[in-house]
């Protein structure tokens, strides 16, 4: 029983980690909290529903389509909501936050009109395949989600630490002006960051659709808020912290549902944020800097 709950928790946690990575990338490079990330994630999930349930296409096509659509959404987000604010004189640091809240409300209601308010089932061919190991049941979907998340995280880590574009991204995150002086095309890097973060949100959307077999326009909000909780838990702009934070939140939520009151599941994330912000504002894995908390 406990083992099954742990497996559920890890599955959920790895999805949370991918969502949180999208937040972390954007925050690391731009210093902006992208409130629209949850809604981009939700769009990815809906693309998955349309591709698999409505059109009956295989799941890999759904992944591809979701990546393309969310990448385009990410580009538009950067182009219309973030770029106009950048480098403008006298814009407060709250302006991009408010602007992305605008995008999130817009996207949520657009999808409300496009897809309808209710729950959409997410059909896939292998939803019911499961293995029995001793007394534990493991679903193929859970393994798939876990493997995809791990692969994605490894690819991202490799890309960030080894490739030229990844190094340019880290340089930009470190200091935008210096990176730009040293010949990094920061404008391009910023677009790339937002696009990659959004595409990861799209992948996470399909994974959630597969895990819970239901997709609705409101899921973006709750997932977005949880992603925020995770990056605060793990330390802002900290890639490893986001992964660990996602797993911690996924596990604690599953355990609360299994052994406590399921109604309070959505509150855990926020109680955790508030406590963390009070006790350790730089996050569990963050380093204390002079700018901490800013």
């Amino acid at each position: 029983m406990i083992l099954e709950q742990l497996i559920n928790g890890i599955t959920l946690g790895s999805i949370y980690a991918i969502v949180a990575l999208g937040f972390t990338l954007v925050f690391g490079v731009l210093g902006i909290i992208n409130m629209a990330h949850g809604e981009i994630f939700m769009f990815g999930a809906f693309i998955g529903v349309i591709m698999t349930s409505t059109l009956g296409l295989p799941i890999w096509v759904a992944f591809l389509a979701a990546i393309i659509v969310t990448a385009i959404l990410g580009y538009m987000l950067e182009r219309f909501a973030l770029r106009p604010l950048r480098g403008k004189q006298g814009v407060s640091h709250l302006a991009p936050l408010i602007s992305t809240i605008g995008v999130s409300i817009l996207l949520e209601n657009v999808s409300h009109h496009l897809f309808g308010a209710g729950n959409h089932p997410f059909r896939n061919a292998f939803a019911d395949i499961s293995f029995q190991i001793g007394s534990i049941t493991i679903y193929l979907v859970q393994i798939l989600i876990f493997v995809i998340s791990i692969l994605l995280m490894m690819a991202l880590s490799y890309w960030l630490s080894k490739t030229k574009a990844g190094k340019a991204l880290r340089a930009t995150a470190e200091n935008l002006e210096t990176a730009s002086l040293l010949g990094v095309n920061t404008k391009k890097i910023i677009v790339l960051t937002v696009v990659i973060a959004s595409a990861m949100g799209g992948i996470a959307g399909i994974l959630v659709g597969m895990a819970f077999n239901s997709v609705n326009p409101q899921m973006g909000l709750s997932m977005g808020l949880k992603g925020l909780a995770i990056i605060i838990l793990g330390g802002m702009g900290n890639v490893k912290g986001a992964m660990a934070g996602g797993l911690i939140l996924g596990l604690s939520e599953t355990l609360i549902v299994a052994y406590g009151d399921s109604g309070y599941r959505d509150a855990i994330a926020f109680i955790a944020i508030i406590i963390i912000l009070m006790l350790r504002p730089q996050g569990l894995f963050g380093q204390k800097t002079t700018e901490a908390g800013r």
Partner: protein
């Protein structure tokens, strides 16, 4: 007669505008000290539930319920505000957003008291209670040429108008006082303000608490005007809606929040076809405003322009008062 001009529907919309103005002002107060709080929907919910539960379960008079609602919200504001001081900018916004969500989840789950997602109905209505009191003492609205329900809505409107005038007057007075100038200097530059000897801890908590009290107060009024509340009334969307009032109208001057609340409440009522696309438009408004006019429609320059237009007519009595707050 008076009765022919009074339409309960218009009065109802006007009452919502007045409640929303208080909410818009609650964001304005906190922003005037440079803090962005997204917890106003949560504080509003606290005020509404406190007042509704006290009046229903303990038969408290409405006015006591409303004051209690505002006070409880204020106390929570202090409790949240003091530790939140360590957080600046976006962190405060997220912590308060998280606070709002926690409050909503508690309203949904604490079913024995709050009746969960169904919400609380049969909350005593301000207008009807006053009407009943007056009727018991032998008053008949027919004297004024009003029907009963016209009179009920008219009392609500007048009451809210008085409350609004008082709140706006208080905030204008405060802006010209030591407190208001401390808020403004903290908003400009916190470190410089501290160096000038301003106790930023005190003033930031003060601003945050004032915002919480105003939200709780507006929430309590909302409960007794609607007579029905549910946790969904105080969700994230409400927080964004309240934020829009200040962002659209103008977050730097009091009149901005007032204009924003009035305009944003009237628009979906006047243009019915808009109300279906209401939140989409809200989203677009936020994006466009941030890109082109981050300070909102009404800012100090617009106000100056209005004053200049009026000035030639009444130069004598306005000249000296203008000098004071320049």
């Amino acid at each position: 007669m008076l009765g022919e001009f009074i339409n309960p529907y218009y009065l109802q919309v006007a009452s919502f505008i007045l409640i929303n103005i208080i909410l818009g002002l609650s964001i304005y107060v906190t922003l005037s000290s440079g803090q962005l709080s997204l917890g106003s929907a949560g504080f509003m919910g606290i005020g509404a539930y406190t007042s509704a539960l006290l009046t229903i379960n303990f038969d408290l008079p409405i006015i006591a319920g409303i004051i209690a609602g505002a006070l409880v919200a204020g106390i929570l504001g202090i409790l949240i505000g003091i530790p939140s001081l360590r957080l600046q900018g976006v962190y405060l916004a997220i912590a308060t957003l998280g606070f709002g969500e926690v409050i909503r989840v508690f309203f949904v789950n604490w079913e024995s008291v709050t009746k969960g997602a169904v919400g609380i109905s049969n909350i005593p209505h301000i207008g009807r209670e006053i009407f009943r009191m007056l009727r018991d003492s032998g008053f008949d609205p027919g004297v004024l040429g009003l029907k009963n329900n016209q009179f009920v809505f008219l009392t609500v409107f007048i009451l809210l108008l008085i409350v609004n005038i008082f709140v706006v007057w208080f905030l204008i007075r405060q802006n010209k006082s030591r407190v208001g100038r401390a808020f403004a200097s903290i908003k400009m530059d916190e470190k410089a303000a501290e160096a000038m000897g301003i106790n930023i801890t005190y003033y930031k908590v003060l601003a945050f608490t004032q915002g919480a009290v105003l939200s709780g107060f507006a929430g309590a009024l909302y409960a007794h005007v609607m007579a029905y509340i549910s946790p969904a009334d105080f969700a994230y969307h409400r927080a964004v809606e309240i934020l829009i009032f200040a962002v659209f109208g103008g977050s730097e001057v009091i009149w901005g929040a007032i204009f924003g609340a009035a305009f944003m409440t009237t628009m979906p009522e006047v243009l019915r076809f808009i109300s279906e696309y209401r939140y989409m438009i809200y989203g677009l408004v936020l994006i466009v405003m941030m890109a082109f006019r981050p300070q909102g429609i009404i800012d100090a320059q617009v106000l100056d322009w209005f004053k200049k237009r009026k000035l030639p007519k009444r130069r004598v009595d306005h000249g000296s008062s203008n000098q004071k707050h320049l």
